[in-house]
Symmetry: C2
C-alpha cells in the first residue's frame, strides 16, 4: 500500500513529458479556462490621471483652511466629463472645473473636491463654496497606478476568473490563448450495468459512475467523452480501450479489484504499462494508473463514492496540472468539529462532511453513513474532512483540515 | 445609507412574485443546474443484497472460531459474478460460492469472507481454508440500505453536482427537469468607453466591466447577453433599455452616481421604478435596484472592483434564488489573520484577500491595494474578508469571517 501523496506524486510526474497545445478563443468564452500565454500591460491603467469622484477639480494650494463658516469661493470655468476632450485651458487658483468620476484632470488642477464638501452659492450658479481643507492629490487616480504600461500582469497558467476577464478586457485581449481542455474518454465495464433509461432486471444496476464521472470531468475543466458501456469480455474491452486511446486520457471505473473478472487489468498487461496500487486511503483503496498504448489511464474503483473521491484526489489534479493551472490544489481550511469524531482508521480517511453555522460557530460535521457504496453520503457534502491514518478520536471543537469541494 | 442585509432583503423580496419556468434536459448537460422537480427513488439501492468484497459467500454459523493454525475447510460449489444469474442452489454449512464485488448473495449464505482471510488448499483447487472468524452479515450490502424504494431523495432547488448526477443516473433520470437559466442583459454606458479590440485615444478606456460581468453572470449560472455599448445620451440609453427589457434581468454598470451624466437614472425615472441606494459597504456604495418597464434592473457602480463586489453580494443571490437554488449562499468560514489588519471603516468592508498556508498556519491576508478602481487587487484573491462597520483594528491571529469566492 502506498500513501496518497506518493500516488499523487507518481501520477503528476508522468506529466513532465507532456504538454497540451493552446487555442485562441474570444474572451467571452474564457471563463475558468487556463491562460496559455503570459499577459503584459499594453498601456497604463488608468491611462490618464482621472477623478475618483464627482466634484470639482481645484488647486489645493489655496484650499488648506476653509471651514463651513469661512468657505472659499471658486469660479466654475468649465466641465470635464469622461469621454469628452479635456478642457484646453488650465485654471488659476480661484477657478475650478466641474468634474465627473473617471474624467481627466484639467491642467493646473492637483486635487478633486467631492460635491459633498462644497455648497452652492445661492446668488451665482457659476460659483461654489469649498467648506473643508483639500490636500494635494485628493481623489485623483494617477495614470498607471493600477497597472503600469509594460508590466507583467498574468502568468501563463492563470485560471480565468470574472475579475481576470475584466483585466484581459482592460488590456485589449479580445482574443486570448488558452490551453486546450484535455479530452477524457470514460469507459464503464461490467455485465451488471444497464443504461440509465432501462429498468434493472434481477442482478442488474444502472450505470451511474459513467454519468457522475462525466460531470466530474466537466467540473474539473476537462472535455468528457462517454464511450459505450462494455461487457466483461477481454476482446470487447480491448476494442473499447483502442477507441479510448485516441483521446488524451482514459478513465475506467470498476474492473480493477482482485476479482476474476478484471479484464481491464488483463488488457493493460497486454497493451500497456500499469502501476496497480492499493492506496492507503478510505474510501477508494484499489486504484490503477498506467498507460494503454501510450495514453494515460486511470482505473478508478467501482464503488460510486470511491470513484468520485479518487477522481478528486488523482484525476482532477492531473487534468488541472496538464492544462498548466498553477493553482490547481483545492483549498484546505481548518474548521472546528461540531461533534465528536470517534472513528479511527489505519488508512487516510476522506470523510464527506457538511460545513454549518451551529449556534454562531462555523464548523464541520461528518455525514452519517460513510460507506463507500453509500451515494447519499455525498448529497449534502460541502467538503471532505481529511483525517490522517491512525489518528485518534477527536473531540468536538478540535480543528480538522477540510478540503473544500464546491 | 442602508445596510448590506437590508439591500439584500429588499432585492430578494421582489422575487416573491416571480417564478422561472423549467426545461427538461439530458442528465449529461445538468452539471450545476438547479433541479426543477423533487426526485423519489424508483427502486431500492442497491436493488439486491450484494457483496462489498471479492471473496467467498459463506454461512457464518460454522465460522465463529477459525484461526490460521486451525482453519475451517469450505468446498467451493460455484461462482456468483455481477451481472450473471444468481446461482440457483443454496449452500450447506461447509460449502461456499466464490463471489465478486457487487455480485448477488446466493441463497443460504449470510456473510462474505474476503479473499485476504482465506488460504488456498495446495491439494484441492475447489477448497478454501478460512483463517479468521466470520460474523453474520459481514461484507454484505443490504438491498435498499443506500436508498429505499420510494424515498424522497432530492428536493426541487438542489444544485446538480457530480455526486447528484450519479444519484440521478442510479434512479433512472436520463432526462431531468431544471429551472431555466435567467437571461441577463448587460449594458454599459459612458462616452469614455471603447471596445476591447480598440486602442484608447486620450480620455478613453476599454470597456472591461461588460466582459467581467458577462463572466460573473455565467459563473453565477445565468445566461448573459452583451448589448452594444451605449453612449451618454438619454434617447440612446432608453433605446438600449427597451431592448434589454425583453430579457429577464437588466444589468448596468456606471451611470448611477451623483454626476450630471447619469442618464440611466433619468431613464428609470421616466419608465420604471427605482430604489436608488447608498449601501453602507466598501467598495461599492452607490447602487440602484429597480424595474424598467417591469424588468428587474441592477445599476452597479462603474468602478471595476465595486461592480464585481456588488454583483457578488446582490446580483448572484438574485440569480441563484430566482432559479430556486436553496443553497445559494456562499460559504463563509472563520480564518485567522496572518498579519495585523488596521484599517477601520464606518462602512462594511469587503476586503479582497488570499488564503495561505504560512508556516503551517492556514490563514488569510489582505491584498495590498484595496482601492475600488484597482483591478489588480482581485488578481490572486480567493475570497473577501468581511470586516463589520466600525470594527476596530484586528491583530494577527484574530479569526475573521472570509466569504469564499472560488
Amino acid at each position: 500500500m502506498i500513501a496518497v501523496e506518493e500516488a499523487q506524486a507518481r501520477i503528476l510526474k508522468s506529466l513532465a513529458k507532456r504538454t497540451l497545445s493552446t487555442e485562441v478563443i474570444p474572451i467571452a468564452d474564457g471563463l475558468y479556462r487556463v491562460l496559455g500565454e503570459p499577459i503584459h500591460a499594453d498601456l497604463d491603467v488608468p491611462p490618464f490621471d482621472n477623478s475618483a469622484m464627482d466634484g470639482y477639480a481645484v488647486r489645493s494650494d489655496i484650499l488648506s483652511s476653509p471651514t463651513p463658516e469661512h468657505p472659499i469661493r471658486l469660479q466654475i470655468v468649465g466641465t470635464s466629463a469622461a469621454g469628452h476632450p479635456l478642457p484646453a485651458m488650465g485654471i488659476t487658483p480661484f477657478q475650478c472645473y466641474r468634474i465627473m468620476t473617471g474624467a481627466p484632470i484639467p491642467e493646473d488642477a492637483d486635487a478633486v473636491v467631492q460635491s459633498e464638501w462644497t455648497m452652492a452659492d445661492p446668488t451665482d450658479n457659476d460659483v461654489i463654496l469649498v467648506t473643508r481643507p483639500v490636500s494635494k492629490g485628493l481623489n485623483i487616480r494617477r495614470k498607471g497606478s493600477d497597472i503600469p504600461n509594460g508590466a507583467p500582469i498574468l502568468r501563463a497558467g492563470s485560471r480565468i476568473t470574472p475579475a481576470i476577464t475584466g483585466i484581459l478586457a482592460t488590456l485589449g485581449k479580445n482574443l486570448v490563448s488558452v490551453y486546450r481542455e484535455p479530452r477524457i474518454a470514460i469507459i464503464s465495464t461490467g455485465d451488471e450495468l444497464i443504461d440509465v433509461d432501462q429498468t434493472p432486471l434481477p442482478g442488474q444496476i444502472r450505470n451511474s459512475n459513467a454519468y457522475a464521472l462525466y460531470a466530474a470531468v466537466r467540473s474539473a475543466g476537462g472535455s468528457p467523452i462517454l464511450l459505450p458501456h462494455t461487457r466483461d469480455d477481454l476482446a470487447a474491452i480491448i476494442e473499447t480501450l483502442d477507441q479510448a486511446a485516441q483521446y488524451d486520457v482514459i478513465l475506467t471505473s470498476g474492473g480493477v479489484s482482485v476479482g476474476d473478472f478484471d479484464f481491464v487489468k488483463q488488457a493493460l498487461d497486454a497493451h500497456g504499462t500499469q502501476d496497480f496500487w492499493r492506496v492507503n486511503m478510505k474510501p477508494g483503496k484499489p486504484m490503477t494508473f498506467g498507460h494503454y498504448r501510450g495514453t494515460p489511464l486511470f482505473g478508478l474503483p467501482g464503488n460510486p463514492v470511491s470513484a468520485l473521491v479518487t477522481f478528486e484526489l488523482f484525476v482532477r489534479p492531473f487534468i488541472r496540472q496538464w492544462q498548466g493551472d498553477t493553482e490547481w490544489a483545492r483549498l484546505v481550511v481548518p474548521l472546528p468539529l461540531l461533534d465528536d469524531f470517534d472513528e479511527i482508521s489505519d488508512r487516510r480517511h476522506y470523510v464527506r462532511c457538511q460545513i454549518k453555522n451551529q449556534e454562531g460557530v462555523v464548523g464541520v460535521t461528518a455525514n452519517p453513513d460513510q460507506g463507500s457504496a453509500i451515494q447519499t453520503s455525498w448529497l449534502s457534502a460541502s467538503g471532505l474532512m481529511v483525517i490522517r491514518e491512525n489518528h485518534g478520536p477527536s473531540k468536538k471543537g478540535t480543528l480538522v483540515p477540510v478540503m473544500l469541494i464546491s
